[in-house]
């Protein structure tokens, strides 16, 4: 509890004690003295509300909750209901205290989730370790990370080996082993050995800083439900206040003007003060706080909980959209499959040696960071002498053309061979086939295969179970490979042999096929698919650790490589929305009910206070459930 909250708690206790005393002494007093006795606890508990009400009116803030509470309680005093006035104010303050405590608590638990900001970095100065602000460490310097410390900046290990706890970033509990040469990401905790790390980025560009920034800004992209509540709140309070005025003014006017005999039924036997009392009940319920706090709090909690599971959601609107996902489109490589390709077969044309074929391919593909090129270089096994390669031209969706030792080498798929007019033939083995021509002569092909991720089939099953109607895979690979993967994973559909540009078209077409209320999510690894990520209703990038492009372009970033996290994200989204809906229905329902009962004279002040602060408190407690997503 903060100092302010503690002070309020004491005021509440004091006022409650004074109220009980007043209640006991009451029979001994008459009218004016009775009011005065109740005024003491009222002043203790409500002076600040009254003061703020006056001050805010001076500032032109009329429909402010302080003013409404002041009006309702002063009105209750005026109509002789002194105990009620005190209790309403007391309950209001208790409710406010609860609210502020509950909000503070959830704020803190969300902040704790985000507690990945490193406080310092160790640098070596004259053989001694010195702690400095991570922001002051230059790129290319050396930092030292001791066991138990958090890696402050993204970098590369130059010395030492250790196990890293990546749980704060990925939700993954199995430590990751690292050694010299490996890239490490800020935010991970070094568990065992001493590491010397060369920062490859400045702190502000590091993963930790990016994640914190992203989550803090997440609430700026408001969900539809939030916008609805904001608009609703703007109209609700004035509407209720006007209704309250009408509720006193109209009956009072009729009672004054009409003779008792001709009064309509609902007015018979009532005095104007009864109507005033009913109007005061309206004023107590007129604050929309329960909704205004609990809806964004639920989204905030959902986003916080998701990040604990290694799922970064860039805004409440995306969390909301995710629940309505109807179609999920996957990129194949790196998403459903590992993306770690290996050369599984080398088929040279007669007269060409297998080693030469691999060498040409590795050299020609030398500049590409594509997984296929990496596997070719791995198969080559020697350092690539880049001076032998010139005039490299990458032909998107086809392959590469380069000059190797003065010869024109083309390496790529069947389409490239057609373009080159080479007499190629498809390989019978499943996998990606790289065909190679040397000076127009078809030299043979190399087969590279990829493995399906362990949890990919499970991921598809979970998505189907979560209500996704259609799963589609897009790939630049051959139809044979695509059909094979799609069948293994039980995907509904696939599109193969797509050029990068075709993927956007394919997604456009799939978008037009989804129902108006359904959303389309695209899942990619963030490499080369930024346009598609942007075009889809929800762009999900996988393996976001360290990939800037993915974090920039996607709406949701999965920190680890597991496609099964998409279904987890959907479940979190559903839970959050369920809570939001419960809160909206509950809060509006109770308020509407009490307003209705109040208008007919069947509700009292107690119920009105419950409908205001009680409902807000319950809604906040409900909202904090959104934080707990460990088991989803």
């Amino acid at each position: 509890m903060t100092k302010k909250q503690k002070k309020m708690l004491w005021r509440i206790i004091a006022a409650a004690a004074l109220f009980v005393a007043a209640k006991l002494l009451e029979p001994q007093f008459t009218d004016v003295a009775r009011t005065l006795v109740y005024l003491i606890p009222y002043a203790v508990i409500g002076w600040d509300v009254l003061w703020r009400a006056v001050r805010n009116i001076a500032h032109g803030q009329v429909f402010d909750e302080n003013f409404l509470m002041a009006l309702a309680t002063v009105g209750a005093f005026a109509t002789g209901e002194c105990p009620e006035a005190v209790v309403v104010m007391l309950f209001y303050q208790v409710g406010e205290l609860f609210q502020s405590y509950a909000v503070g608590k959830s704020r803190r638990s969300i902040a704790a989730l985000m507690d990945i900001r490193p406080d310092y970095a160790n640098i070596e100065v004259d053989g001694k370790l010195e702690e400095v602000d991570p922001e002051d460490v230059p790129v290319g310097g050396t930092i030292i990370v001791k066991a138990g410390e958090r890696i402050p900046i993204d970098g590369q290990i130059i010395e030492g080996s250790s196990a890293l706890d990546t749980a704060a970033l990925t939700g993954e509990s199995v430590p990751r082993d690292v050694a010299a040469g490996d890239a490490v990401i800020s935010g991970c905790v070094n568990l065992t050995g001493l590491l010397r790390v060369r920062p490859t980025r400045a702190f502000g560009e590091s993963t930790v800083a990016k994640i914190l920034d992203l989550v803090e800004n997440a609430s700026e992209k408001k969900a539809k439900a939030e916008n609805f509540i904001t608009r609703f709140a703007r109209w609700y309070t004035p509407a209720v206040v006007i209704a309250a005025v009408a509720l006193t003014a109209i009956p009072a006017l009729l009672l004054a003007l009409l003779p008792a005999a001709s009064l309509p039924g609902f007015l018979a036997g009532t005095a104007w003060t009864d109507w005033l009392h009913r109007a005061l009940i309206f004023l107590v319920i007129s604050c929309p706080c329960a909704l205004v706090i609990s809806v964004p709090l639920s989204f905030f909690g959902g986003i916080g909980g998701a990040s604990k599971r290694g799922i970064l959601v860039k805004g409440a609107s995306y969390l909301e959209a995710l629940a309505e996902t109807e179609t999920v489109v996957f990129d194949k490589t790196g998403t459903l499959t590992r993306g770690t390709f290996r050369v599984t077969a080398v088929h040279p044309t007669e007269g060409v040696s297998a080693d030469d074929l691999v060498e040409y391919a590795a050299l020609a593909e030398n500049y590409s960071g594509h997984p296929i090129s990496l596997s070719l270089r791995e198969a080559y096994g020697k350092a690539v002498d880049t001076s032998r390669v010139t005039n490299v031209a990458e032909i998107a969706g086809h392959g590469v053309r380069a000059k190797v030792d003065g010869k024109t080498v083309c390496a790529g798929n069947g389409k490239l061979m057609d373009r080159e007019g080479a007499p190629w033939h498809p390989c019978e083995l499943p996998g990606t086939t790289v065909h190679i021509t040397v000076d127009g002569f078809y030299a043979g092909h190399i087969v590279i295969s990829d493995e399906i991720k362990e949890d990919a089939a499970e991921a598809i099953r979970a998505l189907k179970a979560a209500g996704v109607r259609r799963t589609v895979m897009l790939t630049g690979d051959s139809s044979a490979v695509a059909a094979d993967v799609a069948a293994q994973l039980k995907l509904d559909d696939y599109r193969a042999e797509l050029l990068p540009g075709d993927k956007v078209d394919a997604v456009e077409r799939l978008l037009s096929e989804t129902s108006p209320s359904g959303r389309l999510a695209f899942v990619g690894d963030g490499i080369n698919d930024a346009p598609v990520l942007t075009r889809a209703d929800i762009g999900i990038a996988m393996g976001g650790l360290g990939s800037d492009a993915a974090i920039e372009a996607a709406d949701i970033v999965l920190m680890d490589d597991k496609p099964s996290k998409i279904a987890t994200a959907m479940r979190i989204s559903r839970k959050t929305l369920r809570i939001v809906k419960q809160n909206i229905v509950f809060a509006l329902g109770v308020k509407a009910l009490v307003l209705l009962l109040g208008a007919f004279g069947m509700a009292n002040m107690w119920e009105a206070v419950f409908a205001d602060v009680g409902v807000a408190f319950i809604a906040i407690l409900n909202a904090t459930r959104a934080l707990h997503v460990e088991k989803l």
């Binding site: 959830s106 704020r107 803090e216």
Partner: protein
Amino acid sequence: MKKRFGLTDLDCAHCAAKMEDAIKQIDGVQNAQVNFLAQKLTVEADDARFDGIMKEIVKVCKKIEPDCTIEL
């Protein structure tokens, strides 16, 4: 220029929305965001007049929610 400020004693979510609306109305403010949960104010405004605009913002916020202070 976009700048972020902390807010202390921001206790009322409804007031946060009102503050946000009022700040957006100020001349020279391109965008503003009052985040009730993070207790942060983000202001995007003209570089040249930023300090003057901030003074205006403090004044407006004092009017709506006098208990809440902006950590400049």
